[in-house]
Subunit: 363 residues, 4 copies
Amino acid sequence: MSSELPVSPLLISVPEQYFGSDYAAGAHPAVMRALAATNLQKTAGYGQDEYCREAADLIRAACRCPEAEVRFLIGGSQTNMVALTALLASYQGVAAAQTGHIWGHEAGAIERGGHRVIPLPSHDGRVAAEDLRSLWTSYLNDETRDHIVMPGAVYLSQPTESGTLYSLAQLREISAVCREAGLSLYVDGARLAYALSCPENDVSLPDLAALCDAFYIGGTKCGALFGEALVFPKAGRVPHFFSVMKQSGAVLAKGRLLGVQFKALFTDGLYGEIGRTALEKADRLRRGLCALGFKPLGSSPTNQIFIRVSEPLYHALTGAGFGGFWSLEPDGTYVIRFVTDWSAGENDVQLLLDFLARNRDNK
Amino acid sequence: MSSELPVSPLLISVPEQYFGSDYAAGAHPAVMRALAATNLQKTAGYGQDEYCREAADLIRAACRCPEAEVRFLIGGSQTNMVALTALLASYQGVAAAQTGHIWGHEAGAIERGGHRVIPLPSHDGRVAAEDLRSLWTSYLNDETRDHIVMPGAVYLSQPTESGTLYSLAQLREISAVCREAGLSLYVDGARLAYALSCPENDVSLPDLAALCDAFYIGGTKCGALFGEALVFPKAGRVPHFFSVMKQSGAVLAKGRLLGVQFKALFTDGLYGEIGRTALEKADRLRRGLCALGFKPLGSSPTNQIFIRVSEPLYHALTGAGFGGFWSLEPDGTYVIRFVTDWSAGENDVQLLLDFLARNRDNK
Amino acid sequence: MSSELPVSPLLISVPEQYFGSDYAAGAHPAVMRALAATNLQKTAGYGQDEYCREAADLIRAACRCPEAEVRFLIGGSQTNMVALTALLASYQGVAAAQTGHIWGHEAGAIERGGHRVIPLPSHDGRVAAEDLRSLWTSYLNDETRDHIVMPGAVYLSQPTESGTLYSLAQLREISAVCREAGLSLYVDGARLAYALSCPENDVSLPDLAALCDAFYIGGTKCGALFGEALVFPKAGRVPHFFSVMKQSGAVLAKGRLLGVQFKALFTDGLYGEIGRTALEKADRLRRGLCALGFKPLGSSPTNQIFIRVSEPLYHALTGAGFGGFWSLEPDGTYVIRFVTDWSAGENDVQLLLDFLARNRDNK
Amino acid sequence: MSSELPVSPLLISVPEQYFGSDYAAGAHPAVMRALAATNLQKTAGYGQDEYCREAADLIRAACRCPEAEVRFLIGGSQTNMVALTALLASYQGVAAAQTGHIWGHEAGAIERGGHRVIPLPSHDGRVAAEDLRSLWTSYLNDETRDHIVMPGAVYLSQPTESGTLYSLAQLREISAVCREAGLSLYVDGARLAYALSCPENDVSLPDLAALCDAFYIGGTKCGALFGEALVFPKAGRVPHFFSVMKQSGAVLAKGRLLGVQFKALFTDGLYGEIGRTALEKADRLRRGLCALGFKPLGSSPTNQIFIRVSEPLYHALTGAGFGGFWSLEPDGTYVIRFVTDWSAGENDVQLLLDFLARNRDNK
């Protein structure tokens, strides 16, 4: 039966994408230049090269964590899967908001690795320390707890999948619960550039290094062709982590490609600039949407914006290459997501706003 | 950290148990006699003996399903794990009520096998057809569905973990949703004797065979020393199922022990009698509890009864060997569970009621 | 295709078995009596009862290892799978002789748990310390070792699958290699009674406790209905081991059945007597076979005897219920295995010898 | 213990590499130009773009297999793991030569996915049809076969890890055994360019499409930055394969990068040219080595050359950036591997030969 599903809409390709995601284009030109400039060099494989070493040094410096272990992986779902399954004991699960990427959009990769994702309520995309505390207390108080999945780690995203941010106070409280309970704290930073450059943000890389057991600095959605920098503030947290990566098919043969890119991203403030460019566009888009009467859902201050539209408007927008599916609501309306990125694209915000202005009757 | 947890209350053994579970005693005397009578016979191992063949024939006859494949496994969690992981494709998950055994009390066995348990709301222990339909529709309507866990099967228990029953109408509706969507329907019958003998029940073994892809007839909790009879109404539903069992450590070397027991259970109406005995005791206990002012929670008509008690009364009861932990509520009260079984135990209901009468001030 | 295989010979059941295995009958009468005597008692489930506690105490005493953690599981393949996957890190494999049960007869259970079985040459059923040392040295010397499966444990059986024994000197040498290399040493004692009672044996339970990280004392093949006693000489070697067992479907609800049986086996020297009875029968059978001109293969001094026979004789023997398949050789001859057990069966040795005498022309 | 291993030699990076591997440099300049030219385009993600569609069309045409399903993954180990675990039933293993990459250099990825790699003898890197036939016959003849790992697929590499080739006759014979036995045939084409362009080769892409169940056309080692094109000649062979990939972290967000690269590789004969360039260099190097008295081991006609050298010469060579570790032999000598690639590098062959001429006394 399952193979007879109607062809997925994903299979209908669209020539040009606007605001559908922050991974529609290639790499930031400075990153691409670095790849081109080093292209014909021959180096050791698997990340055992000078570029990876330099990139790791830059990241350790940015995190003010000279002891950190930095590993370069290829994509976000892969990094979550490899890191979380390595942090958990076989009988443990990882708690995450029901809006979390590992719950909703990784096709069961954590479970494939043998572990439950324990869903927690989403508070505008965030996990609440209070919910974690309850989860742990309820585990401890359960006289049959040896029969249930033991919480072993907490997954959260900064910014969240809803575009919102954890404040430093929130992250500290969560980290405190984790340390008291012995849970590993893992932060998915697929879009970390858009948190770090956000005026509302007060969580720095050194804060992450101080509060987490592992986190990753996103490359794919933040100006790289691909790649994520996984940071274990305490080196050796997972013994033989290279073999763990290899066993999951997560080692890039030409590993230096990751080093070259992250070196470029962490040189001359490029990572910050990439974040700022996208956030400025997002602010312009948000203001324009409000002016047109489209009130964004939730309270994202970062590069993701969600609005509710009618079915005809949804199809008009995506047909023209604007935005992407978020959800179909029970009342037949759609939530569409707009995501801004680092690319210059001076006119694209205006193009979208003009399109909406012309089609607003379908709102 | 995890190894420093306070010693689990489970480790405090209690000499005698009343109503703590339906697996506190050994086997029904008739089952034990059959085991003793055949003890010194030497037969082929691994279930390839005459007793298993006869037991399977009796079960096929009781299910009015002459084509069924019957497999004998050792315990309930094991049967759920082996059968469900065999029914699912690698990228599929199994939907279950949040009160379902595979969600709450199997330590993540389904996930260990690589699959998500997709939690659904519990309606007094039951999955609702409407919730299943929504789950499937929402999967189909999600334009990113190739990135999410595909529902592949539905797990339900008859009677449920809350002691309630699915009516034939409810089961038919669920089965219809499953067949339309291509989901496998699996029924956990750990306590099936207590459904089949219940006056309120209208779901027979032939109904299960007609409506499910697989179900098991519980032995462990219904009069056997151990053992569950897994029925695939359509033989060959899982190719090489013996190897699947073996690979999970779920084959009993002296397999005939399972055949001998199930032959006894399905001879002369023993399985039905075992159910009736427990249900009569449960009814007496329910009436007595109400008379004392303890109103059972939910609407279980079977052999499980849940009441809410104060902390002191909870400790008094369990300290005296009565009942077992169900949950600790946020307000500090406990839900305690009483489970009746097939054993004669004429006086035990009265013992418990007397104990409660003496200690009711702690209610 | 795979489901169209010809029906496995396993499916042809035979009424009575002689020497086909040591798990053809039920339990030793003393064990059965203990089960019957305690049958109607009601105790805590899952091994949290007095019988399991007493049995564990008896085993700790027999091992002269008062600190040991003793866990009761149901079968041998299950115990191997649960214990070994718990002892290994995700990127590690377990070395075993190519004749080892986990390589040849567990349907890939270790791999299902995520780990490679690393096959080593079999020296009449045994792993050689020298081969282990080479395996480890070759791993260490391999400059690409982070890309290969790291040896993490060694599996051996006492007696081996070929019926042979490790001497204390051999076991000490293997243990020394393991400790130097950081490998866990695991001993499968499915037939341990037949080693412990063998005059040629010089490895005691206290030796196993001193030299291994984990081992199990077989019940299923040594007089129990079922059950294996897994011993971790160092308690807590695997944290939360109960949950590990539960997650693999390896916890028996009526856990006390295992305690009752092992208590009986370790009372009044029963385990030793069971071993001796089988070994005496094996000796008589060996002498008789030699007298008839059938020279046993290998050098098993325990309860397994292997002889090579022609195809017609093989079918005659198994058709009459004698012995079991071991291998079909490239030249068309069969290796048939005879296994003796604890059951009295005064005449069965003579029956088999008479049968062979009548059919020896087919040798 | 394991975390205290001496630092792996892998961690000592070397500035420039000669003949250490065919993945030391970036991409072929034509591939890099294509990436740069399309860098700022915005397309749909996850491979749902025009470039992937065009690349798949080019590959289908080259394979003369218009119905084929083409999927783009990131690396070779990943492709092997994802494809093989999807082709196998849970209780099946995959047979491979002991020199095969999945046996020796993937850190147990297939086992992590739940399946055994069944090692077969290596015939200068190749699997023999005869050995496969024996494996299958022995499985079929084993009366306990339901207890053993069922062979479900065959893995081979073209060219092999030893640089040798399967002839069309050999591949046809293997394919015939597979089809008769119902085994899936999978070919790892990590270095396929170096087979396809080799004068000794008589196996074409259409032959692979006709004889295999799945194979991949290597990009990483054949001129791409990264990427492998997995071909299922029969589309739909694995239902929901996109989800299978996603669940293993094997989907590239900016999937079009793979399409752009394979479109370039399959345009204007670039893939063939890349192969030829490397093979010409290899021939020059082979002739030079022989002239210096270093006889290559085995009979590789492709881009890998293996010679045996003394320990001092091994260290001299690798210290200077020449070649890479293959094995340390029991007599203390090393086998070193030289691999040529597509890069122009006019002088590198001469540099190596001169170095060897100067250091031959250490031979």
